[in-house]
């Protein structure tokens, strides 16, 4: 297995800005990016001038040349954008950065995402324009125009095919809010959720209640990647990348909801490759961070990562199974996109590294293997697995 990134690259620095409700960040998006990158470098104990590469996703607006100029970086060696896929690019950007470090294209790459929906407009709103052409002409005039509306259609079909009940979605939301109550960084810290509050919350689009939907936030997050052989020279316990990759199944990008295997989180081909590269099995995963644009996507991602049989969701998806430290598979232990912050999912990768370091506010005992699934139901999606030194 020489053609792999397994064990060759480690995360040695984490940085986040404060997380804000949409529109409440005091800083411009680009400054948020810089603050997160500076924080990640400080965490790694390096000068920002040692960074020689940047990778991001979802058309992040803070481009690497501009960042390198702002930080005074002498020699920018790697400048990378993961195409498409919205939050599906989080682990993909890490995969790209890891590939650059593993092959010697760069020495110290920062993966980041900065997002100020207050400054630049909301994902959750439809386009306000007079006419629409192209793929959107076949959906938007029928009132199908937001991510919630695009993905509810897939989730409804999956729930129909496998007899999944609403309570399975509810359990995912309850677990996220449960974890957020121990996480002072979380936007929903101090805002607990119980069954009654969930059940009484308004529908956004069936089968999604308000609490099945991600937040809309401003902030930035960053992580520093270096070669594994250097990783022990940094202040924190390294989190080694055991696997990181992206992809999608046959015609996942077919337009107007025409993907043949429609009711999918898009991980069916990605997850087996992920486990092969990492040389781990689903049962080896100690803690999971699973991108929640909407709870239904979490459920489908977990099925496609083989944590649960598709026809066993009603039994598996109960709150007690999903919470740290005691659950069968502690999931979204920071509160994630539902209750910590919607940083387009990069916060989930950061939480996975925290678990490997032993620094989570909802720490899982002896967490050696942490999996992140980024951006279900889009295309391409991506996943990553982080491990302690013991897993190498």
């Amino acid at each position: 297995m020489s053609r792999t990134v397994r064990g060759k690259v480690a995360v040695v620095g984490l940085g986040e800005t404060q997380y804000y409700k949409r529109g409440e960040a005091p800083d411009a998006e680009f400054k948020l990016a810089l603050k997160a990158i500076l924080a990640a470098c400080e965490d790694a104990g390096i000068s920002p001038k040692q960074v020689d590469g940047f990778a991001s996703f979802s058309n992040d607006r803070s481009d690497p040349s501009h960042l390198a100029a702002a930080l005074g970086i002498d020699d920018l060696r790697f400048s990378n954008m993961q195409w498409g896929g919205g939050g599906g690019g989080g682990s993909g950007a890490i995969a790209n950065a890891a590939a650059a470090v593993a092959t010697g294209m760069a020495e110290c790459v920062v993966v980041f995402r900065a997002l100020a929906q207050g400054q630049f407009g909301r994902f959750g709103q439809g386009p306000q324009r007079d006419v629409i052409a192209g793929d959107g002409a076949h959906t938007i005039p029928y009132g199908l125009m937001s991510p919630a509306q695009s993905f509810a259609m897939k989730v409804t079909r999956f729930m129909h095919d496998h007899g999944v009940e609403q309570n399975a979605l509810r359990a995912i939301s309850l677990a996220s809010y449960h974890h957020a109550q121990n996480n002072p960084r979380a936007v929903m810290y101090g805002r607990p959720l119980d069954e009654e509050k969930y059940d009484n919350s308004r529908w956004i689009v069936e089968p999604f209640h308000l609490f099945d939907c991600c937040l809309e936030n401003d902030g930035a997050a960053a992580m520093v990647l270096v070669a594994a052989e250097r990783a022990r020279d940094f202040p924190h316990k390294p989190a080694y990348i055991l696997s990181a990759l992206s992809g999608s199944h046959y015609r996942a990008g077919a337009s107007v909801h025409n993907t043949p295997d429609y009711a999918s989180s898009t991980f069916k081909t990605v997850a087996p490759r992920l486990y092969d590269m990492a040389q781990v099995k689903p049962a080896d995963v100690d803690v999971l961070q699973c991108y929640e644009n909407f709870t239904g996507g979490v459920l489908m991602s977990m099925v496609e990562h083989q944590f649960c049989d598709p026809d066993g969701c009603n039994e598996f998806f109960v709150k007690d199974n999903l919470i740290a430290p005691s659950g069968k598979l502690p999931t979204n232990t920071s509160g994630g996109n539902l209750a910590e912050c919607y940083m387009h999912g990069l916060g989930l990768n950061i939480e996975a590294v925290r678990q490997i370091r032993g620094q989570s506010t909802n720490q899982v005992d002896d967490a050696d293997v942490a999996l992140v699934a980024s951006g279900p139901m889009v295309t391409p999606v991506s996943s990553s697995i982080f491990g302690t030194e013991a897993t190498l």
């Binding site: 005039p141 009132g143 015609r251």
Partner: protein, 144 residues
């Protein structure tokens, strides 16, 4: 009669002409979908070549406007100002068994709070908007 309140973006043919025959036909109460002249399979949305056999010989053919509900959703929260006072509405994804199982998006006519079952047969209903500029036609669906 219009299912949704007016004011949403109006569909226009793509500037490259790729879906123009669909919209032109809809204005005449005809459903036309893209079909490969070489392998004779349908595909939707329209594409420049056949994704199966890669032939460039892709054209449009009139089809029977009937299908089955493949999935659906009832929307409650408006994400566009035009829908602020709309109340709930139903979007259906309709599979066309006579057309290589391609799928179309539309609204389901009738009570927005009706129960909907996956697999229900539906037929198309052409919703004309002739008094606006540019005029357009939506392909909507009603239970058979």
């Amino acid at each position: 009669m219009s299912y949704l309140n007016s004011g949403l973006p109006k569909p226009v043919p793509a500037p490259d002409g790729l879906d123009s025959p669909f919209w032109e036909a809809a204005s005449r109460d005809v459903l036309m979908l893209q079909r490969c002249g070489s392998c004779h399979e349908f595909q939707w949305g329209p594409e420049w070549i056949c994704h199966r056999c890669h032939s460039e010989d892709v054209g449009f053919q009139e089809v029977r406007p009937v299908g089955n509900i493949y999935s659906y959703e009832r929307v409650w929260h408006p994400v566009h100002p035009a829908l602020k006072d709309q109340g709930p509405y139903i979007i259906v994804l309709v599979e066309m068994p006579e057309c290589s199982n391609v799928r179309l998006v539309g609204n389901l006519m009738g009570d927005a709070e009706q129960s909907v079952e996956i697999g229900t047969p539906v037929q198309a209903f052409f919703e004309h908007h002739r008094d606006v500029e540019p005029s357009f036609t939506l392909v909507q669906w009603e239970k058979v």
